[in-house]
Amino acid sequence: MTPLPSPSPEEELDDFLRSVERRAFKRTVYAVRDEDAALDIVQDSMIRLVQSYADRPPGEWPMLFQRILSNATLDWFRRQKVRNAVFTNIGDIEASADDGEGDFDLLEALTAEDAGTEGADDAASRTETLAQIEDEIARLPARQREAFLLRYWEELDVAETAAAMGCSEGSVKTHCSRAVQALAKALQLRGITL
């Protein structure tokens, strides 16, 4: 039995980019709320990755790509000259989230699904629910959204998320916790249960 030929570097790179491109696009859409701009940012990130890090081991690509994508998104905000406004809004939203954190019980958002209500959703309502979830994620402060998506959607560990975001692991945990609290509260107000 002949061994399978090892994939070429281009094939490995193609497989990796194929595995992350859709999530990268959605994640960028949540941030910039513009599909065309998100596509440009994702393409720019792909080019940056292959130009600078194509010779790195494939195991390092996920974290590198997420960091490049975050930087490319920030570059887009800088080019749009709205970065100051964005971070001002972040401060406002974070303050309001902190105020209400103690009054919210996360179990309320989780126990409802155990009663079996989700199974009654049809395809249309699921699509609508998904749109509302994505809307709430897009409303999150930028750092909280980034930490939440990297940590739980991209399945990076805390250290990798901290490296991708350029912050401490404690900050990652804080951002993730606040993001979960804010999402659970917002979705519960909309009547959405998971």
Partner: protein, 217 residues
């Protein structure tokens, strides 16, 4: 009225609850990522292909020695033709460059003089072929014109020609007999001219008889 007693959660329990909620939310987001519109997926595919192509070009630039093998270095089937490759010299360099990666690319480096000469050969062949076609056509035209002239000059002179003033003028010209002679230098051709009996053409008949005598072999 509370239906469930609220118990204080420790840090580990709270973290586990958050992770559970986040993973369920991520599962929903995965569904959304899989239902991206077709035009978006196509644009992502094109972006991915461009990135992979950029990586391939960058890799080739980083290792130019792979695409242009040094003279005498033989790989695989080329080893069987090592001697011939050395004998070909610059031709062999070009062959190695083509063989190494499915044809020549823009970043393969300078072209050897052998391949430059080889690329000029079709142009030279085309020019030579066009010149040959032009020469053949000229030859055919000359042969056709000669056939017409021979047919005209070897035919019998019709009697009406002697009633034509223009023909009389042609015969009365000093150079006309010489021209006619030079045009009818074929020994088999004989122009038979009979002298008419009419007086007005007597002078012209004499000249025609003289021309016929001169043409006869």
């Amino acid at each position: 009225m509370k239906t469930r007693p609220t118990l204080p959660l420790n840090a580990a329990q709270r973290e586990a609850l958050e992770a559970r909620f986040a993973l369920r939310l991520s599962a929903r987001l995965d569904e959304g990522a899989q239902s991206v519109p077709h035009d978006i997926t196509e644009r992502l595919r094109v972006a991915r292909q461009q990135a992979v192509e950029a990586a391939r070009v960058a890799r080739l630039k980083a290792a130019p020695a792979i695409s242009v093998a040094p003279q005498g270095l033989q790989v695989g089937w080329a080893s069987a033709t090592a001697g011939a490759g050395r004998a070909l010299g610059p031709w062999h360099d070009g062959a190695a460059a083509r063989r190494s990666d499915h044809g020549r690319r823009l970043d393969d480096g300078p072209v050897s003089w052998g391949w430059r000469l080889a690329s000029a050969l079709p142009v030279l062949a085309l020019v030579a072929g066009l010149w040959g076609v032009k020469f053949y056509h000229q030859l055919e035209q000359l042969e056709a014109a000669a056939d017409v002239d021979i047919a005209l000059l070897s035919d019998d002179l019709p009697p009406d020609a002697y009633a034509d003033p223009g023909f009389a003028e042609f015969l009365s010209h000093d150079t006309a007999p010489a021209t006619a002679v030079s045009a009818l230098r074929t020994p088999d051709i004989e122009v038979a001219v009979q002298a008419p009996s009419a007086d007005p053409m007597e002078q012209g008949t004499d000249d025609a008889a003289a021309a016929a005598a001169a043409v006869s072999p």
